[in-house]
């Protein structure tokens, strides 16, 4: 896959729409808002010809098998968001060392593309943001080192960003969901999250492997292609499934477990396929139905705990349309709404890092160079989501001049505060 931004319409949203209504509820073409937004997206002028008000940020993401670099504005406008995925042969996963090598090769071309597509020069940026964690060490180091070098070369402050929080903020910005229960599902993480008193609190999570890891590893058993992603190919195959095979259902209170299901279906697959008792499609269908039902159950329970009616799905598994459909049914039964995005924003990307870093920066927090490390473990609730506490003043008053003052006048910036203490 080449840089994605080349084929992407750049789309813009202003602050009032950001706050009032879901801007883009993708996968709902019948939704007039989405249709209008789609029309606006395709007809919007190229970013090079007009600059959104307020500061811009560059974000670098490389925590797993994707490397992405994006440029965004504080109003949430995505000026560019190219990405490249390390795709391994069928039957193989991605290993840290080879993945880091992939990222090293693609970083510079992606960086050029991100700046060119956005039509901005380094001098136009307010800060350089990177993924601090969680993720795989080797791959994480690539973006961290590049961000440090660019921060020094361009004389721009650094902002370290939590990958999980970035998924949430990107989801909120793209869909317009204000205070939803968040289901964050990817190859490395499975969490049900809700905001409370300055932090994104984890209400439930996997006690072993992530749901995406379970799906990816089952795709390897069936030797499905990893292009564009194993989960996508499972989803397509599952549509042809006709027979439901009973699998273990492992919800433990607010938590879920997938490793036992994976072991069970791996053994079942070999046996039943050999005896012609079912097809690979039946197995994909059964696996999806089982694990997604578990996720819907814990999300529904979190909604009851939080007294919230809206659900936002983020993370790579979040672009699975079957998961979205199941979640939508649950939400509608509770009189709530589902917010979800497509693969451009669900899957790891640089814009989500840039946007979350910029929110942090706009509240006076940057990361000193000496502290610009990366870490494989970095929990969602370790981050003080300072922008959520003072969200309304910031997002609803995007006074271009006021924000510009922050970015221009370095002396007015408060002493940098460490993001991760």
């Amino acid at each position: 896959m080449g840089p994605i931004s080349a084929t992407l319409p750049h789309f813009a949203f202003d602050s009032t729409r950001l706050l009032s209504s879901p801007l883009v509820v993708l996968h709902k073409p019948q939704n007039p808002t989405a249709a209008a937004a789609a029309a606006a997206m395709s007809s919007s002028p190229s970013p090079a010809s007009r600059r959104p008000p307020g500061p811009l940020a560059l974000g670098l993401e490389s925590s797993a098998n994707k490397i992405g670099i994006g440029v965004v504005s504080l109003s949430g406008e995505i000026l560019s968001n190219p990405r490249h995925t390390y795709v391994t042969p069928p039957g193989h996963g991605f290993l840290p060392r080879e993945t880091a090598q992939h990222h090293l090769v693609h970083l510079l071309p992606l960086l050029r593309a991100a700046l060119d597509d956005a039509g901005v020069a380094p001098a136009d940026l307010a800060c350089v943001c990177y993924t601090k964690g969680p993720g795989m060490g080797g791959p994480l180091q690539v973006a961290a080192a590049a961000a440090r070098a660019l921060s020094l070369l361009w004389r721009k402050p650094l902002v370290a960003v939590n990958h999980c929080v970035a998924h949430i903020e990107m989801g909120r910005a793209v869909t317009g969901a204000v205070d939803p229960v968040v289901l964050y599902v990817s190859g490395g993480n499975t969490q049900v999250i809700a905001y409370s008193e300055g932090r994104y609190r984890i209400f439930g999570e996997t006690i072993d492997i992530a749901v995406g890891n379970c799906l990816d590893r089952f795709a390897r058993v069936l030797e499905l292609s990893n292009d564009p992603s194993p989960g996508y190919n499972i989803e397509q195959l599952a549509k042809k499934g006709e027979k439901f095979i009973d699998l273990p259902y492992a919800v433990k209170g607010m938590d879920v477990s997938f490793s036992g299901i994976l072991s069970f279906i791996e053994a079942t697959a070999i046996e039943k396929l050999k005896n012609n008792e079912c097809t690979p499609a039946d197995l994909c269908y059964s696996l999806q139905e089982t694990v997604f039902a578990m996720l819907v159950e814990i999300t529904e329970r979190a909604m009851a705990h939080c007294d919230s009616k809206d659900v936002l799905i983020v993370g790579g598994v979040g672009c699975n349309e079957r998961l979205q459909d199941m979640m939508r049914i649950m939400c509608s039964e509770r009189g709530g709404r589902l917010f979800a995005t497509d693969d451009r924003y669900c899957i790891d990307n640089g814009a989500m890092i840039a946007y979350t870093g910029l929110l942090t920066y706009a509240h006076g927090v940057t990361t000193p160079l000496e502290e610009s490390t990366f870490t494989q473990r970095f929990r969602t609730d370790e981050v003080h989501a300072i922008w959520r506490e003072k969200e309304m003043p910031v997002l609803s008053n995007i006074h271009a001049d006021a924000m510009a003052k922050v970015s221009k006048d370095e002396a007015s910036m408060p002493t940098p505060i460490i993001v991760d203490s």
Binding site: A100, L107, Q141, A145, A149, W154, T373
Partner: protein, 97 residues
């Protein structure tokens, strides 16, 4: 940019050594590479030691390890990252000499 490597005589435990230098021709550029790479410490300090200094526009790197495989792993990871940072400096750096 010139680089040279060597593996000199054995000593107390830290028998595997490697030295190399990279000439950036600019103190500022060499120091950007130094500052960028200095943030990440060696993951196994009891097995691999890394010392980096900057002088006269050159980056001087010294590795010591207790086993060849640790030296190889740390050295190659460091060089891979150094190459990326060097490319960024070449692309966006302002030559000051």
């Amino acid at each position: 940019m010139a680089a040279a490597a060597s593996t000199p005589e054995p000593s107390s435990g830290w028998d595997f050594k490697c030295n190399f230098e990279v000439d950036y021709g600019s103190e500022e550029q060499a120091s950007i590479v130094y500052k960028t790479l200095a943030v990440d410490r060696e993951l196994q300090p009891d097995k691999v030691k890394r010392e980096v200094t900057v002088s006269g526009g050159k980056l001087f790197v010294h590795f010591e390890a207790v086993e060849a495989r640790f030296l190889r792993a740390s050295f190659s990871a460091f060089v891979d990252l150094m190459v990326l940072v060097t490319k960024l400096v070449e692309e966006y750096g302002v030559a000051d000499s």
